[in-house]
């Protein structure tokens, strides 16, 4: 019989590996059973909004947690920013330029020539939204408007660059470190205005104890080690 009530965690697709390992650890330690559900954050959020049986939600985008808060699915005190990430500029492995002056619109433009910069779809992919903001901040709105190709997920953007279809792309560092077909050409400085954070939230007005325990575990040191193994930054303070 079970040590605790079954738990379901809905998590952004980009956290798949890390969450699966963390969950497996937790299951081994506590003998609790945890179901993991991965999809685009927006998809998961709408499902939770429609009554999906989720206990926790790890979103790649704070907006969706806020959206759930507004609809009463999440209480403000039951959310924390669990993870942080960085955006990196990537190029296909073996591209002649290994480092790019990422703050210069001209040099990026020159490098792209008539190719396109692969980013997530700013409308639907958080990484894409962050990338768009970064490009705007760096005065590269021209590139954003005319020289990007938008993917339905970071993974697709990564694949485009890895296959050389796009000469460069902007993705999370977490994704970039594992993909073999690319190299990191530069890391974008974190933006204080729009920090890249993955909020974790307990779902429901009165979350159950088992979920709460897992919520706590994900903030614990062992979990933090797992996350950083996958390239995430653990956000320590609120």
């Amino acid at each position: 019989d079970q040590a605790c009530e079954p738990i379901a965690i809905f998590a952004a697709a980009s956290t798949t590996n890390a969450i699966e390992i963390a969950t497996a650890e937790y299951e081994r330690e506590t003998a609790c059973s945890v179901t993991t559900v991965f999809a685009a954050s927006g998809t998961l959020a709408r499902q939770i909004g429609a009554g999906a049986p989720a206990d926790l939600f790890l979103s790649a985008d704070p907006q969706w947690i806020t959206w759930l808060e507004q609809s009463g699915k999440v209480r403000a005190r039951n959310r924390i920013n669990l993870l942080g990430n960085d955006l990196v500029l990537i190029t296909p492995k073996g591209a002649e330029t290994t480092r790019l002056e990422i703050t210069s619109a001209d040099s990026l433009s020159a490098y792209l020539k008539d190719g396109r910069l692969a980013i997530g779809d700013p409308a639907s992919v958080p990484a894409g939204r962050y990338a768009a903001e970064v490009l705007r901040q760096l005065g590269m709105s021209q590139i954003l408007e005319n020289q990007t190709v938008r993917a339905a997920s970071v993974r697709v953007a990564l694949a485009w660059v890895a296959r050389g279809e796009a000469p460069a792309g902007i993705v999370y560092r977490t994704d970039a470190t594992i993909e073999e077909g690319i190299q990191i050409a530069g890391i974008f400085p974190a933006s204080p205005a729009h920090p890249i954070v993955y909020p974790l939230a307990l779902i429901g007005r009165v979350p159950n104890e088992a979920a709460k325990a897992f919520y706590d575990y994900l903030q614990s040191y062992p979990a933090a080690v797992t996350f950083s193994d996958h390239g995430f930054r653990r956000i320590v303070t609120q």
Binding site: S14, F38, Q47, A50, L158, I178
Partner: protein, 234 residues
Amino acid sequence: MISDLTPAEWIALSLSLKVALTGVIVSLPFGFGIAWILARTSFPGKILIDGLVHLPLVVPPVATGYILLVSFGTNGPIGSWLLSQFDIRLVFTWQGAAFVAAIMGFPLMVRALRLSIEAIDTGLIQAARSLGASPTRVFVTIILPLVSPGLIAGCLLAFSRALGEFGATIAFVGNIPGETQTLPLALYSALQTPGGEQMGYRLVMLSVILAIVTLAASELLSRAMHRRLTGQTS
């Protein structure tokens, strides 16, 4: 290849089959009814029904998924009624995935059935009734066998479509391993995972093999049916 499937792959495969099969079986009576109406009756507004039937083909699957979520979700108008009246819950269950499969394959099934129904010789039905057969007996002994080629084709198409269905499924029932994570969803997850291409490749191969097996089975079945119906050997 089949022998060294991981347990997770096995689960996704069997779930896909269960979902697609259930979807086809559930939609069959409705598909038949609609196809019959479209083939054998004529009334104003028939073109509207024809249009409605084709909608799942045209409307993007994601949108279909969200529409289903909004209307058949436990908070949705139809979903809450189903739950309270029949204790049927579709969202986030494999039954819901089967329901999506049924909806998405519906236009293809209706079209194939309609062609077959249009081809039935009314004279045979009249002959059967003149021999004392009730409408039910006529249906079972005459109409069903004669429609069987269309039935097979329709089921095949709907089943194939169901096997490949992704967008509406993930939006409506989510990607829950063991419950709603069919092959396409598992494939999606694999592709979302860094280094998941290898697994993705295996899942695609699985889909392809499934498709070929399905097709070959339906082809053999429909040849046998053709032979039964025409008595010809080819």
